[in-house]
């Protein structure tokens, strides 16, 4: 039996800043030990415990897609003790990773269906992993139509700008970008995500919706999706609760009889309705 809390060492290969304010960065990491890299199998939507020795560890969604060989990407916002320490790192520094944890997006259940991805602000990381996974040539034909609706406060806050551009050019998906308030030179839509979602009204026939964003956006998007005909068990949410151990032992992310880190973070709206309103 190995110590479940022992992280594996990874080296920071690249650090990409995601917004002008530079408080959100994407870290590209490679495991020091190729053996570990080989059997670090993960699905989109899973997270890992990223640790900076001396500061602690925190659960971060894996932003890269499982199809990307050889590296892992984490998008981290500078907000707490560990994230501040990570933001002070430079390329070549060594940090700890343990995981992958959580159930991730239910890829098997989504196969052969239309996919609607609704993301808001900084919580687009695991949705991007899902989108990249679906758009990969080996997987694309297993899924039908893909719609991505992604909004942020202003253009600077939109994450993964190169991906968004690439997706804009592709024909086999429909990308709708929006920002909250009008900004000069912005060609995309303007308005909050729920309103834009209602406007673009993706068809709910044989479709699954994956949504992740700030609580206020989710609060207003769920009714829109139900109105569009999405049944409660076809709306998938990735919850953001305070987690610590990541393996369902420390009790922090306990809602009702479920642990968000073990039984989630992806839940269907149906499951959430049965759980106590504490998320």
């Amino acid at each position: 039996m190995t110590n479940p809390y022992l992280p594996n060492i990874a080296v920071i290969k690249k650090i990409i800043s995601e917004n002008e304010v530079n408080d959100i960065k994407t870290f590209e990491l490679v495991f020091e030990d190729p053996e570990i890299a080989k059997n670090f199998k993960y699905r989109p939507g899973q997270f890992a415990e990223v640790s900076f020795f001396g500061a602690g560890e925190c659960p971060i969604g894996i932003a890269s897609s499982p199809m990307d060989e050889g590296f892992l990407q984490f998008t981290i916002k500078k907000i707490g003790v560990v994230t501040t320490a990570l933001h002070n790192c430079k390329e070549g520094d060594k940090i700890g990773i343990r995981g992958p944890y959580g159930n991730g997006w239910p890829i098997e259940a989504m196969e052969g269906r239309n996919i609607v991805i609704v993301g808001g602000g900084f919580a687009f990381t695991t949705l991007r992993s899902l989108a990249k996974y679906i758009l990969h040539e080996r997987n694309r034909e297993r899924f039908k139509e893909l719609t991505i609706i992604y909004g942020a406060r202003d253009p600077g806050e939109l994450l993964y700008k190169q991906d968004l551009e690439m997706w804009g050019k592709r024909s086999d998906l429909n990308t709708v970008l929006t920002i909250d308030k009008e900004v000069a030179g912005w060609k995309g839509k303007v308005g909050y995500v729920p309103t834009i979602l209602k406007e673009s009204a993706p068809s709910s026939k044989d479709a699954v919706a994956a949504i992740c964003g700030p609580p206020v956006m989710i609060k207003f998007s769920i009714p829109v999706l139900t109105e569009l005909g999405f049944p409660a068990d076809k709306i998938l949410l990735s919850l953001e609760m305070r987690m610590k151990c990541g393996i369902g032992k420390c009790g922090r992310c306990n809602i009702g009889s479920k642990f968000v880190c073990k039984d989630g973070p992806v839940f269907t709206q149906k499951e959430l309705q049965e759980m106590p309103k504490e998320h």
């Binding site: 022992l6 500061a55 602690g56 151990c245 393996i247």
Partner: protein, 340 residues
């Protein structure tokens, strides 16, 4: 089920035998309260106590436990896992409710695909010798929750005080192995079993409090938004006494200590009663006030855990009732829930 018998005055020699090749933990009186401490000689242990202030979980799941230490320099990071204890241990003289609580902890820490090895390793290497309760306290309500003053769950040996002698019931093969060491123990006759049985019925009858807990789990299903929670939590001051003294509370926090070049990662007890337990980095706290936190403590024990593991996870030891600074009595909460 075989059993041995020994006179009361042979107890110290019994423990001395154990200390020869086991590391023995036993209740020791420290100024006014009893605590489980490692002892080297039989006479340090004293069994004239109702229950230890802290449950035996502190022996297996200590309040501060090092997960690993790290050392970082130019070449790389060197992680040193903490060597697991290898010496055999004996936990002497714990009460049936606490032993039963350990069974819950075992089930939880070994559930799922990530096992908590430091806890499980210590548990495996420890033989449990329980002490039956001849005179339960007024705050004890183990009989309402499936336990009993002479309960045998989770123990390897059970000492039953039958006036001038101790009846030692052997409950597991690990217990049997322990008793083989001690040649001068005599086998028990039926008269001893009868006397023990009589005392156990007497003890059980002293617990008058019978809380109807059948259907409690189902009743709680609809209790999440009950207005009752608004009154119950008002006097709670949000300290950690009830959870730190509870034998079936195991929430913890993980944090790093030291400098980036070398230090250690430590696991410490934590409690759902503190606001920081669920405070998120964004500032949102799903359990902002004492009401949600008090509700979480009660609901987890009587509804959430039973949904996963099938049984209510309170053993009725009464420690939270005795130690609560504002006398917030969980028995009253259960009664209030039952008759809403």
């Amino acid at each position: 089920m075989k059993a041995k018998i020994m006179d009361k005055n042979e107890l110290q020699d019994f423990v001395d035998e154990l200390t020869k090749d086991y590391k023995v933990f036993a209740p020791v009186k420290m100024n006014r309260i009893f605590r489980l401490k490692e002892i080297s000689k039989g006479k340090e242990a004293c069994l004239g106590y109702q229950n230890t202030r802290q449950p035996p979980k502190e022996i297996f799941f200590p309040q501060t436990e090092i997960l690993f230490t790290y050392k970082m320099d130019k070449e790389g990071v060197e992680l040193e896992d903490i060597p697991l204890p290898n010496e055999k241990r004996v936990l002497f003289g714990i009460r049936p409710c606490d032993a039963r609580a350990l069974v819950f902890l075992d089930r939880f820490f070994s559930s799922g695909d990530y096992k908590d090895i430091s806890y499980l390793e210590k548990r495996e290497k420890t033989t449990i010798i329980g002490l039956a309760c001849n005179s339960p306290l007024s705050t004890c309500f183990c009989t309402s929750l499936g336990g009993s003053p002479f309960g045998k769950e989770g123990m390897d040996l059970l000492l039953e005080d039958i006036n001038e002698k101790y009846l030692i019931e052997i409950l597991s093969e690990q217990g049997a192995k322990l008793v083989e060491h001690i040649p001068w123990l005599k086998d028990a006759e039926n008269a001893d079993f009868e006397r023990a049985k009589k005392i156990s019925e007497e003890a059980e009858s002293t617990i008058k409090l019978k809380i109807a807990v059948e259907g409690l789990r189902k009743k709680f299903d609809s209790m999440f938004d009950a207005p009752l929670w608004d009154q119950i939590y008002q006097k709670c001051i949000g300290c950690g006494v009830c959870t730190y003294l509870c034998p079936t509370c195991w929430c913890f926090d993980i944090l790093d200590e030291g400098t980036p070049t070398c230090g250690r990662r430590v696991r410490i007890w934590d409690t759902c009663q503190f606001p920081l337990f669920t405070l998120e980095a964004s500032g949102l706290n799903p359990r902002p006030s004492g009401k949600e936190r008090m509700r979480q403590r009660v609901m987890h024990k009587f509804n959430y855990f039973p949904k996963d593991f099938g049984e209510l996870v309170c053993v009725g030891c009464g420690r939270c009732v005795q130690a609560c600074p504002v006398n917030l009595d969980i028995r009253e909460i259960i009664k209030a829930i039952m008759n809403t």
